[in-house]
């Protein structure tokens, strides 16, 4: 019995310890699971939070990008408007001139017709013939100058409108000449003391080429205005003797690869471009003008426009002597 008891009690102890161990292990496991679960839950929550944060940031960045694009478009538009503002006086002057001719030549024709009446009564055929010739030639002048005013108003409207992006056959010589005059009178209206010699050398063998007219017009305008600014700054610096000169030229060329292309250059004898600036001039927002005077978008936009036409915009300069911008456009 005692033995049995002994056995029984040792068995009980074994069972007891085994049971206890199981309970402890079980408890341990539960604790472990609970602990890791809570840990995982925390990790998960953290991840979720991070994901939300990233989503938030993404939205923010997307919004900012959209805002930036909008602002960029507005900037491009305001750059366009600013250059239009610069042109306004030039445009007024350039419309006034042909209108004067229209008015004056039509007045003259009225006089000539009254004279013809007198000659008709006299039956003086020779005189009548010569009067008719004069009247016809005057009518042609009226028509020419009317068209000139018309084309100026059209190009002004085109300049202010958003680009349709459509390419159309364009006479680059006419376009360059028009903008040269507009820019000149516009610049002069702003700064009465400004004056510069203008030289143009247009290759008349150039036929119309397909370009987005208002875009290329803006490039030409931008390059010419820059040239005027450069010569006027050099003049203001008081260097003597100095005769400001801006030259615009076009040329039909054959590229190294044997393709024909059109070359348009705008050259000024201003102070040229500093070495340190030359790599930056085509970057957006880079300007050498005093703050508030330039948007720094002119050349960068010009560069993009020429690129979009499959062409090239390059610069040639010598500090203190000249700057020349050369556009090459495929024909």
């Amino acid at each position: 019995m005692v033995y049995l008891d002994a056995i029984q009690s040792s068995d009980v102890k074994v069972f007891f310890f085994a049971g206890l161990l199981t309970v402890i292990l079980l408890f341990g496991f539960i604790l472990y699971f609970l602990f890791t679960y809570r840990h995982k839950q925390r990790d998960f929550n953290l991840l979720q939070e991070q994901k939300d944060e990233i989503d938030n940031q993404k939205h923010l960045v997307e919004n900012t990008l959209r805002d930036l694009k909008l602002t960029q478009n507005q900037l491009i538009q305001s750059e366009k408007m600013a250059s239009l503002g610069e042109l306004t006086a030039g445009i007024a002057h350039e419309i006034q001139n042909p209108l004067n001719f229209v008015n004056n030549f039509s007045d003259v024709n009225k006089e000539l017709l009254s004279e013809m009446k007198v000659e008709l009564a006299k039956g003086n055929l020779q005189e009548i013939n010569s009067l008719i010739d004069d009247i016809i030639s005057n009518e042609e002048k009226i028509n020419d100058h009317g068209k000139r005013a018309d084309s100026i108003v059209k190009s002004m409207l085109q300049h202010s409108r958003r680009s349709s992006g459509a390419k159309e056959p364009t006479n680059i010589n006419t376009l360059a000449d028009e903008y040269l005059r507009l820019a000149y009178h516009g610049f002069r209206a702003k700064d009465k003391s400004f004056n510069s010699k203008l030289e143009s050398d247009f290759d008349t063998t150039i036929e119309s080429i397909n370009v987005v007219q208002q875009d290329i017009g803006r490039v030409i305008l931008n390059l010419i205005t820059n040239a005027f600014y450069a010569v006027s700054e050099k003049k203001k610096s008081g260097i003597e003797p100095y005769d400001p000169l801006v030259m615009v030229a076009t040329k039909n060329i054959t590229t190294a690869s044997g393709e024909s292309a059109l070359l348009l250059s705008v050259r000024d004898n201003g102070n040229g471009i500093q070495k340190a600036a030359i790599d930056k001039i085509f970057q957006p927002f880079f300007t050498t003008k005093p703050s508030g005077q330039g948007t720094g978008l002119g050349l960068s936009l010009s560069y993009d426009i020429v690129k979009a036409h499959g062409g090239e915009l390059k610069v040639n300069t010598k500090e203190g002597e000249f700057a020349e911008f050369i556009i090459t456009l495929p024909i």
């Binding site: 006034q96 001139n97 001719f101 004056n104 030549f105 003259v108 000149y184 004056n195 510069s196 010699k197």
Partner: protein, 123 residues
Amino acid sequence: MKVLVVDDERDVQILFEQRFRKEIRNNEMVFAFAFSGEEALEYLNLHQHEAVLILSDINMPGMSGLELLDRIKNKYKTPPPKVMMITAYGDKENFDTAMRLGADDFLTKPVEFPVLKEKLKAI
């Protein structure tokens, strides 16, 4: 009377020749034309004392009409030709400068030819 007209607009020549055709035909007036300030000075060098009157535009590329006026009045003193300025910009600054430099008259564009004829007859 010989008149030198200076303007960068080339059609000014045809306009003047038509506007003054009677006077030209009757030899009352002779016109010469220059299309820049530089050309005008060249003309005056070659034909000294011929032009009695110079009608000049102000706003011209290169030498402006005011610069031309200044040079003429300084160079040709005995007797200086009369210089009439014609400009699209009739503002005070242009007017004052022209007067200070010795302009004899100042007209604004568009030119009223009957008025101009009256003024020319008075000279």
